[in-house]
Amino acid sequence: NAGVTQTPKFRILKIGQSMTLQCTQDMNHNYMYWYRQDPGMGLKLIYYSVGAGITDKGEVPNGYNVSRSTTEDFPLRLELAAPSQTSVYFCASSSRQGPYGYTFGSGTRLTVV
């Protein structure tokens, strides 16, 4: 029972480089989310998806893109990495049915230098 799997766990990028943070869930959850966590700021919602083919912006979407071609996968794309994107990124999923509760991945620590 893997839950929510994020890769990679750590990454260092140079300014201007691009990368994709991968997120996969095996719980057949319709809802998926990307958050970034910065010290003293809590978690901020970047993008979310309510199902395959549907995505929407969260609180801090600038500099990021997402896609949701399948129920299982919700990758987050950084096109031109900037130092302000140094953060810890968490993917989460939830089911619309039953009590709400998010399952979080283990996080990706990204440093942009």
């Binding site: 919602l45 309510v50 009590p99």
Partner: protein, 113 residues
């Protein structure tokens, strides 16, 4: 602005002391409320949640929280903390009309033996 507020940013306690962490939200309407814990170097784990019914909710590891609707509060309590409770604690709220989980800025708890 609609938000989730955690007024205690850093709390330091000795073992066996009692704990209360404040959480207030400013959303109207029906909400679901959560407390998450993040141990050093780990991802978020659900401590407890409130959806409806008894406003006093009991979670894992001896934690409980009380929903006071008139005060828009959902404070977390534990009668006697342990060194292993050292972690960061996040309050979070879902407004049912938006289905997005919004976090407070977190409270860092340090417990000394």
């Amino acid at each position: 602005a609609q938000s989730v507020s955690q007024h205690n940013h850093h709390v330091i306690l000795s073992e066996a002391a009692s704990l209360e962490l404040g959480c207030n939200y400013s959303y109207g309407g029906t909400v679901n409320l959560f407390w998450y814990v993040q141990y050093p170097g780990q991802h978020l784990q659900l401590l407890l949640k409130y959806f409806s019914g008894d406003p006093l909710v009991k979670g894992i590891k001896g934690f409980e929280a009380e929903f006071i609707k008139s005060k828009f509060s959902f404070n977390l309590r534990k009668p006697s903390v342990q060194w292993s409770d050292t972690a960061e604690y996040f309050c979070a709220v879902i407004r049912l009309v938006t289905d997005k989980l919004i976090f407070g800025t977190g409270t860092r708890l340090q417990v000394f033996p």
